[in-house]
């Protein structure tokens, strides 16, 4: 019997559900935004109003104060929220791995919950926590001040977390840190579980302490996973959007102190109605992500050779 589809086309036919979606929602927007980055386009004037303007959008960005500010905000947030994630996740994973047996899955599950919770719900909750006059964070600080000694280092007046430019970024970082630390812990825990037990047994026979085992066995063998999760943090951190967007009411807060590049791109398109410049921002951001990912890769491979 002759097959309904020729063998030559059969693979494509079976792949088509994915291929069609990928082309429509993946390839097409990618190419369209690349085209748009070199165009001027006022979308309410229709497709005909598109006009090629060469590098004008990129020229504008280079001189645009807000673009550089948003990039600075993004890098600040990526570092301050990103590095502690790993510094906490690795020891935490090691502790869970060594000390917890029956409750391990439960504990890991609890740490993982923020990662799968709706960002919008969390950001609303966090804005309530960070509220100046009614928030739990400021109440805690006021309560801690009653402990002798702490009154000297803690501020006496309520902190305006989301209104004062210098406080917005730390508040956002705290939320991002809280959200992703569990995710990284799960990654590291999985990697630790793959380290053969015999290695630890041999080290113990040689008299290595728990601390030594951690530094000389666990950490070096975690390196591939570190590379993977740091790369994820770099990419995720540079594309940060939802948390600051909801926490600052979509504007980026006072003096745009919490406006990330992804947010600026969104606002340029949908608020300022300038899709060409917004596409240029997205490609500029892509290059920053590419460069920093490459730097991360270099860091992990050079330290490996030494």
């Amino acid at each position: 019997m002759k097959p309904v589809i020729s063998l030559r086309w059969a693979p494509y036919f079976f792949l088509s559900p994915f291929l069609v979606l990928f082309i429509v929602f993946g390839i097409f927007p990618l190419l369209f935004s690349l085209v748009l980055a070199f165009q001027s386009w006022d979308p309410v004037r229709g497709m005909d109003s598109m006009q090629f303007i060469g590098l004008e959008n990129f020229n504008f960005l280079i001189q645009d104060e807000w673009f550089w500010k948003s990039l600075y905000n993004t890098l600040w947030l990526a570092f301050v929220s990103g590095i502690p994630q790993h510094l906490v996740a690795i020891p935490l994973a090691a502790y869970i791995h060594r000390s917890l047996n029956k409750t391990r899955n439960l504990v890991v599950g609890i740490y993982f919950i923020p990662y799968i919770t709706s960002t919008v719900a969390m950001a609303i909750l966090f804005s309530a926590l960070f509220s100046t006059d009614y928030g739990v964070v400021n109440s805690m600080i006021a309560w801690l001040r009653q402990i002798p000694g702490l009154a000297l280092i803690l501020p006496s007046t309520a902190i305006d977390w989301l209104g004062e430019p210098s406080n917005i970024k730390p508040a956002i970082s705290l939320m991002v840190f809280w959200r992703y630390v569990g995710f990284n812990t799960v990654l590291y825990l999985a990697a630790m579980q793959a380290i053969p037990k015999e290695t630890y047994e041999a080290a113990r026979l040689d008299g290595a302490s728990t601390i030594q085992q951690f530094f000389y066995i666990t950490l070096p063998l975690l390196k591939p996973m570190m590379f993977f999760s740091v790369t994820l943090s770099v990419i995720g951190g540079l594309q940060l959007f939802e948390e600051p967007f909801v926490l600052t009411g979509g504007r980026g807060g006072s003096d745009q102190a919490g406006m990330t590049t992804a947010m600026y791109m969104y606002r340029t398109a949908f608020e300022f109605n300038d899709f060409g410049t917004a596409s240029a921002i997205s490609w500029a951001l892509f290059f920053v992500v590419a460069i920093l990912t490459w730097v991360t890769h270099r860091m992990f491979s050079t330290s490996g050779r030494s």
Binding site: Q51, I53, T132, D133, Y134
Partner: protein, 435 residues
């Protein structure tokens, strides 16, 4: 998912029926019977809350007058709706027959050329101009003065204040409204005697002062020739007043619509709020229902007039059923009963002057201490001037707000901040010209 499947099923049924019907028509060769059938059209109305409710509530009456038209209301959230309308126009697909637009987005759509000129035939809406509050037609028009959207509701700017707090501080309403200086002074007395803040955010003063006392031909940020106005005395005064409020710690430093902001009304820590007249409804319904009887409303300080939004009905060029769409638009905007119903149920203040003699306006408002506040808003509406819009207004707004933040934080002097704002705006203009 099951919704989608049901929808698909319904759709395919519809298609089958249409085809069947078409076949029967051809078979019969009876043009009359099928002709009637073909006139029965469905128009799509793209709306956002609470306008979607207003249109839906009006449909039973509309069907009595126009049984041949079926109306399908498509509702999206406020910002999503306007993004969807932008996309619809950009791509020319999924175009509704009637499009609701909020005045804040008028600058974007007014000169797009994608909406029908309602002052031209067959609409000839210029005949209705005198029926509407005077500033609404200019607000709904393109730069060349052609009407692209019919006004339905307006947001008359008003001052809301807590009478009980004022009484406790020994202040009168006129202390707030006489001038901006007296407004700030009253704030200091309030703070001293009651400990409450004058306003939610110092920026509120700036927002109104830059929108009041415009000279003929001036928009907020640009004049009609595109000249940047942000270094004018109007802006300097606005910035100075806002800074004074912040320096004297008279504002609660909350962002409007944030949790903190709404909490401040529940707890009574803020004494005034300047906003559209619909704010009274928000206070009564969800912000602070327990403060019933404590609030009053007045004109804005210093004889300022401002409009807080307003809604318009537009018909896209590429709409399929423009004739039927126009019937609905006329019904929603020119019908006195519809406008009053929307006012009574959704606090949507009518743009149609014919409603203003209704007894509803004379009724006291219990939440506002039985004040006859609607009469006040009605008078304010008549005096509110039209402000020419520019499509760069949203970006100018952001530039000014960012510079305002710097001034309020004490990081920049006002003159320098405004000069920087002017430079940034010039850059944006050049970029928008080149693009």
């Amino acid at each position: 998912m099951s919704d989608l499947i049901n929808h698909m099923k319904a759709l395919s049924k519809k298609v089958i029926w249409k085809k069947l019907l078409a076949n029967i028509c051809i078979g019969w060769l009876s043009a009359t019977a099928c002709g009637v059938r073909a006139e029965n059209v469905t128009i799509n109305v793209a709306a956002f809350p609470a306008l979607d409710q207003i249109v839906k509530a009006a449909l039973p009456e509309f069907y009595k007058v126009h049984p041949e038209i079926k109306v399908h209301v498509l509702s999206r959230e406020f910002a999503d709706h306007h993004t969807a309308m932008t996309t619809a126009i950009a791509t020319g697909s999924n175009m509704p027959d009637v499009m609701l637009l909020e005045s804040g987005y008028m600058g974007r759509f007014a000169d797009s050329g994608a909406l029908e000129f309602l002052t031209s035939p067959p609409y000839n809406a210029d005949q209705y101009q005198s029926k509407f509050v005077s500033y609404t037609f200019p607000q709904g028009s393109s730069a060349e003065g052609k009407l692209i959207a019919m006004p339905t509701d307006i947001g008359v700017g008003a001052l809301f204040y807590r009478k009980d707090l004022l009484d406790r501080a020994g202040l009168k309403e006129s202390d707030l409204t006489q001038s901006w200086e007296s407004f700030v002074q009253a704030g200091e007395v309030l703070k001293q005697k009651t400990g409450v803040y004058l306003v939610g955010n110092a920026r509120d003063l700036k927002d109104i002062v830059i929108r009041s006392n415009l000279q003929p031909g001036e928009g907020i940020y640009f004049d009609v020739n595109g000249k940047v106005l942000v270094e004018s005395p109007r802006f300097v005064r606005a910035f100075k007043l806002a800074r004074m409020v912040r320096q004297n710690k008279l504002d609660a430093r909350t962002m409007a619509w944030s949790a903190e902001w709404s909490e401040s009304f529940k707890r009574g820590t803020v004494a005034t709020q300047m906003m559209g007249s619909w704010f009274g409804g928000h206070l009564a319904n969800w912000l602070a229902p327990e403060t019933r009887g404590l609030w009053r409303t007045a004109a804005l300080p210093d004889g300022a007039f401002a409009s807080w939004g307003g809604t318009f009905y537009a018909i896209p060029n590429k709409a399929e059923h423009k004739k039927e769409a126009w019937e609905l638009v006329k019904f929603m905007t020119l019908d006195r009963d519809r406008q009053l119903a929307a006012f009574k149920t959704q606090d949507s203040f009518p743009a149609l002057i014919a409603t203003y003699q209704d007894t509803y306006f004379d009724q006291p408002v219990p939440f506002l201490g039985n004040q006859k506040s609607r009469l006040l808003w009605r008078d304010l509406a008549a005096k509110t001037p039209a402000i020419p819009l520019n499509k760069l207004d949203p970006i100018a707004d952001e530039i000014i707000n960012t510079e305002m933040d710097k001034v309020l934080a004490g990081k920049k002097e006002i003159e320098l901040a405004l000069a920087d704002a002017a430079i940034m705006l010039q850059k944006r203009i050049r970029h928008s010209m080149r693009r």
